[in-house]
Structures are given as C-alpha cells and as structure tokens.
Symmetry: C2
Subunit: 146 residues, 2 copies
Amino acid sequence: MPAVMRNMNLISRCQGLYRAARLSEDTLKSCHHGFVLAICAHPGESQDFLAEHLCLNKSTVARSLGTLEASKLIRREVHAEDRRVTLVFPTEQMLSLYPRVREIARDWNRLITEDCTEEELTLFLSVLERMAKRARTVAKEGKETV
Amino acid sequence: MPAVMRNMNLISRCQGLYRAARLSEDTLKSCHHGFVLAICAHPGESQDFLAEHLCLNKSTVARSLGTLEASKLIRREVHAEDRRVTLVFPTEQMLSLYPRVREIARDWNRLITEDCTEEELTLFLSVLERMAKRARTVAKEGKETV
C-alpha cells in the first residue's frame, strides 16, 4: 500500500514551519491557524460544529478554545435556547489576524503546487477531495472497517 | 488558488481520530506515531536528524522526545565523538508497538484510497511526492519566496 500519509503529514508539518516563520504574532500559536480559518468563516457556530468541521475530538477543541479565549481571540456564549450548547465568536483581534492567516495559507498552496501542470493539479485535487470525504467517513465510523 | 491544504490537513486530523480509536495503548499519545515510525526505522540517529526528517522544530522534537523518554519508549545517548550530538534509540517497549503502529497506518492508507483507480492513484502519488519535495525546500528556505 502506498505511503499516502507519510507525504501528506510531511507537507502538513512543513506548512507548520513555514507558517511559524511568517506569522510572528505572539498571540497566535501556529497550530491554531485552523481554528482562525474555521471560526472567522463560521462565526457564532457551536463548539460541536467546530469539532465536526475540523475533525477533532471535542476535548481537543475545548482545550484549544480555552487557549484562544485566554488570549482574547474568541468569546464564548451559551446558546439562548439550549444551555448545553456553547457558541464561539471571533473577537476583533482574531478578525484582524484573519486576512494574514489566509494570505499565508494561499501563498503556501501556491508555492508547493508551482511544479504541477494545471491538468495534473485538477486530477490531484479531485482525488484529494474524494479521499477527504472517505477520511471523514472512516474516522466517523470510528471502528475497524477492515 | 486551490485549497490543497484544507483537505490534506483534514485528512491528517481524521487519521488522528482513527488512530486514537484503534491505538488504545495508554503509553503512546496519538501525536507521537510519527516518532515511532521514524525512530524504529532509523534507530540511533541524532535528534537533529529526526527534526530534519520529520520537518519539525528542534524544540518540538526535544519536547516530544522528553515525553517519550519519560514513558520509557526511547533512550538517549550522547555521541561518543561529539558531545553536542544526542542519539535516539527505541526501547523494547517502543519496538513492540512498532508493528501495530505500522499496521494502523497501512490500514488507514488503504481505507482512504479505496475509491481510487490504480491509474488515478499513481498520478496522485507522483504529484504528492513532488509537492512534498517542494514543501521541504520552501520550509527550509524559511523565507518568503513570494
């Protein structure tokens, strides 16, 4: 079986190094960029939505949101009609970081695809999209479908 | 610019959930699987080699190795000829986890590629390999090549 993930995880870690080099803001840890992108694109969604959207454990999400809240990057609100639900909003401070985080993500995408032809990239992205759907399904089943 | 990384990072996080569901050993945090694979495949290499190989900051590697050492999964040795170099060896305990970690990685790779034809996968992997090389280069340059 081909080592799909070895290279994907490698690219992901390289992106982390690139981001850390470019994103000097002390307030934002490099690992939280996914939260910035998700929360700014979906303001006022619930913690559970974010866990589902980002494919992370609820406890991981709660911990990361705690850190972001302590840094005044988000605020949390209990849902008016269902007190078990916590809604997450970006603060002005997070919104001001958003364009920079997106720019760095766009630059990285462009830089690593520079060597590819448009045709290669189209097929690559269509396979990647299908893999991502499949990955969500397998992770959700949370069991060995072997 | 296409959102290459959104899907790659998503697949990577889904893999984390899948691994956590299958790897019940308390001694091994899910995020350390990359270290198990690297250290067991390259026993006796230096910390700096692991940072380079895994594309991680030296400080991140040092922290993770500290955790693995505390869990008796690795042992570290100062290089006999160069005391600035620290070598990393897997313990019996880590070596006993290795086959399971590899099996889970192989299963995941197989499960997420099930929907792809052999032809699609061949092209996908060749593009992915090129992207990984490019990612290493861009991350190493550590500067804006924009």
